[in-house]
């Protein structure tokens, strides 16, 4: 897991840690890099200053809510959970199974987050993520020119 870039300074260290853990739950490491290792946080950092500037408060509240959920279910913060427990918790939220009070629909937050993480992982490196086109090499989308 990578430390969030400077563009994420607008979020608290706790929220940043939760976001990193979420990104690597959505795109976990295997033979190929995880989401954070492939630059997804750099992508998100750029977008929070651009197209997603209006969603920073939404994200902050969602990250707090995920962390609160982890505390309620497991008694610890989300980023300290084992990967399997993180996935389990995120799947439950995706299905609408919350144990704490959310400020908005948890399932919508998860699908929104997943969409943005995938943009950072699979879109062109010019958008700040997909470092060295690693996801393109992984799937066999090879740009020659």
């Amino acid at each position: 897991m990578r430390t969030p870039g400077p563009a994420l300074r607008g979020v608290t260290p706790r929220q940043a840690a939760t976001l990193s853990a979420l990104v690597d739950t959505v795109v976990p490491a295997d033979e190929y890099p995880s989401g954070t290792a492939a630059g997804v946080l750099d992508y998100l950092g750029g977008q929070f200053g651009r197209d997603l500037a209006g969603m920073r408060a939404y994200y902050a509240a969602g990250l707090d809510a995920v962390d609160a959920e982890a505390g309620q279910v497991h008694g610890t913060s989300f980023d300290l959970l084992e990967p399997a427990r993180r996935e389990e918790l995120l799947r439950a939220l995706e299905a609408g199974g919350t144990r704490t009070t959310w400020p908005f629909d948890a399932a919508v937050f998860v699908s929104t987050l997943v969409g943005h993480v995938m943009e950072g992982f699979y879109a062109d490196p010019g958008n700040g993520g997909n470092r060295d086109a690693v996801s393109w090499r992984m799937i066999g989308f090879e740009v020659r020119d």
Binding site: V26, D30, Y32, Y122, A123, D124, M138, I139, F141, E142
Partner: protein, 548 residues
């Protein structure tokens, strides 16, 4: 170069896309002084970019190639009556690329002629209740010479012999088709097994050097992007370029036509337009040619009311803006045993026309073809099988193992038009120039969905016969389809009570006002419409010059 923007001109062409480019070329060549007003910017390759999140194939955020976010929204009225504002890059805006060259700068460039039966839908199938299905006042034979001219002057690659099984063709294509890749070979085997006829997809792309420009480099960013080699033939590098080279045409980018001006007798006298600073200008002209696309052309006519025509030019019978249609796209995805992605664009390569018409129990049909190279993020968003988790290790593994194995077959179902599918002026919302925005409402006729269901089954069948180990699809929803294939809002006809333009594209009741874009399509064909837009513009512009 060309007439001064403040001077009187012979003709003003509004829009520089498929129809406007041809119109400007034909008129300038015939010695006319032409002013082309293009609302979009004149963008180079780098400005358009290869941004996977901001393009006309998958637009997650505001477009780089227009329409711009700041230009203003449209209002969409849902079937429930709920109204919402839609921004240019959002689903439901039904936009087309807005830059010099219009959609032809970025298109996939499929160069189909409409089939003879496409011009005679009502007499072939009957008219479904509550639809506005009608025959065209002209037929394939009227357009055939102009299709040929578009193929040669703009540049199409294709297989003359294979196409000759479906169209009467006098002359071969100027270029051979691109070589078949893995996708096409697999689908050819499947079609052989099913006994279906296939044809290489004709493309407005140089398969060999042509007209002084290079051959296609087979890159992976074709549809939705500008061509790095200028091997994709659009208005900007063919007809529009030639029009400007005569010295008699002038192109004004970022020039928004606001209103067509008339004298008290209804004769068109000029066009009022807005420049990038917001300043208004009026150019006087003998002839006005609207080629702004089905939504913007209708909007312009509606925004030009006179005492004689209080609802807009050509609109005394409430026809302008109705019958808005595009194509209902059907699709199926198949997962193959072996990789079919071979890293060679543009991707689309092989088609069957066996289900374009005369399908049992349904009206019309569609051409079915394989798909353009899919951007990875678009593959993640649209091409994954149902039931696969949307994220996590299994999702990542599926992407890795199957991006090169999954292929799509799909096609444009000819819509059964509805008079209730329409674009009007919104009474409250205005764009950045203060002009009322388009208000879109209605859906395709429900009969379209029966045809779609039949074609969806054929797409799936083709994939399975081609070796797919599994295939999946989804039902076509009842919706409005306009967007890049938008058409029908100023339909062509002999009766002014049920149409807007005559068979030569001239607006009923006006001697010098023309429409030369897909607005005039009575129905939109079982294939992609751009070559028909070009052919109709050639035909109408030549007639206009002959009668001048």
């Amino acid at each position: 170069m060309g007439p001064d923007a403040g001077a009187r001109v012979d003709a003003v062409v509004i829009g520089s896309g498929a129809g406007g480019g041809v119109a400007a070329w034909v008129l300038a060549r015939a010695g006319r002084q032409v002013l082309v007003l293009e609302r979009g910017r004149d963008l180079d390759f780098a400005q358009i970019g290869r941004d996977h999140l901001r393009n006309h194939r998958i637009s997650r955020y505001a477009h780089r190639s227009g329409p711009d976010y700041e230009d203003g929204p449209r209002v969409v009225v849902e079937p429930t009556g709920h109204e919402r504002l839609v921004r240019p890059h959002e689903p439901g805006f039904h936009g087309n690329a807005t830059l010099v060259g219009g959609g032809t700068r970025l298109y996939g460039a499929q160069a189909w002629r409409f089939l003879p039966a496409d011009f005679a839908m009502a007499s072939t199938y009957g008219v479904p209740a509550a639809s506005s299905l009608a025959d065209w006042p002209i037929g394939y034979d009227d357009l055939e010479p102009f299709y040929e001219r578009a193929e040669w002057e703009i540049g199409v690659c294709g297989d003359h012999t294979a196409a000759g099984r479906h169209w009467r063709r006098a002359k071969p294509y100027p270029m051979p088709p691109l070589p078949e890749g893995r996708q096409a070979r697999a689908l050819r085997r499947g079609a052989d097994a099913l006994g279906w006829d296939v044809v290489p997809v004709p493309l407005l792309i140089n398969s060999v050097p042509y007209d002084g420009r290079a051959a296609c480099t087979r890159c992976l960013h074709c549809v939705g992007f500008a061509c790095p080699a200028e091997a994709k033939n659009g208005s900007h590098n063919t007809v529009l370029r030639r029009a400007l080279a005569t010295g008699r045409a002038r192109l004004l980018p970022e020039a928004v036509a606001e209103r067509v001006e008339c004298d008290p007798d209804g004769r068109v006298t000029g066009v009022r337009w807005v420049d990038r600073s917001g300043a208004r200008h009026t150019v006087e002209t003998d002839v006005v040619i609207c080629a702004a696309g089905a939504i913007e052309t209708a909007r312009l006519l509606q925004n030009s009311p006179t005492r004689r025509e209080p609802d807009g030019l050509g609109n005394n019978h409430d026809q302008v803006g109705r019958h808005l249609q595009g194509h209902a796209y059907v699709w199926a995805l198949g997962e193959m045993d072996e990789p079919v992605h071979d890293g060679l664009g543009p991707g689309v390569s092989i088609a069957t026309l066996d289900f374009a018409h005369h399908n049992d129990g349904v009206v019309g049909g569609a051409m079915l073809a394989d798909e353009f190279t899919v951007l990875p993020i678009a593959f993640w968003a649209r091409n994954l099988p149902p039931g696969l988790p949307r994220w996590g290790a299994e999702n990542k593994r599926y992407m890795r193992e199957n991006y090169r194995r999954v292929m799509r077959v799909g096609g444009p179902v000819q819509e059964i038009p509805s008079p209730h599918a329409r674009t009007r002026l919104d009474r409250d919302v205005r764009d950045r120039w203060g002009i009322p925005v388009a208000r879109l409402s209605g859906t395709t006729h429900p009969e379209t969905l029966r045809t779609s269901a039949h074609l969806t089954d054929r797409a799936r069948e083709w994939l399975l016969a081609s070796g797919a180990r599994r295939a999946w699809t989804a039902e076509t929803p009842l919706a409005l389809h306009a967007g890049q294939h938008q058409s029908g809002t100023c339909r062509m006809g002999d009766d002014e009570r049920t149409s807007v333009v005559d068979r030569w594209g001239r607006v009923h009741g006006h001697d010098n006002l023309y429409v030369m874009d897909a607005s005039v399509h009575v129905t939109n064909g079982a294939v992609n419409p751009v070559l028909t837009i070009m052919a109709l513009a050639y035909r109408a512009a030549e007639r206009l010059c002959a009668d001048w």
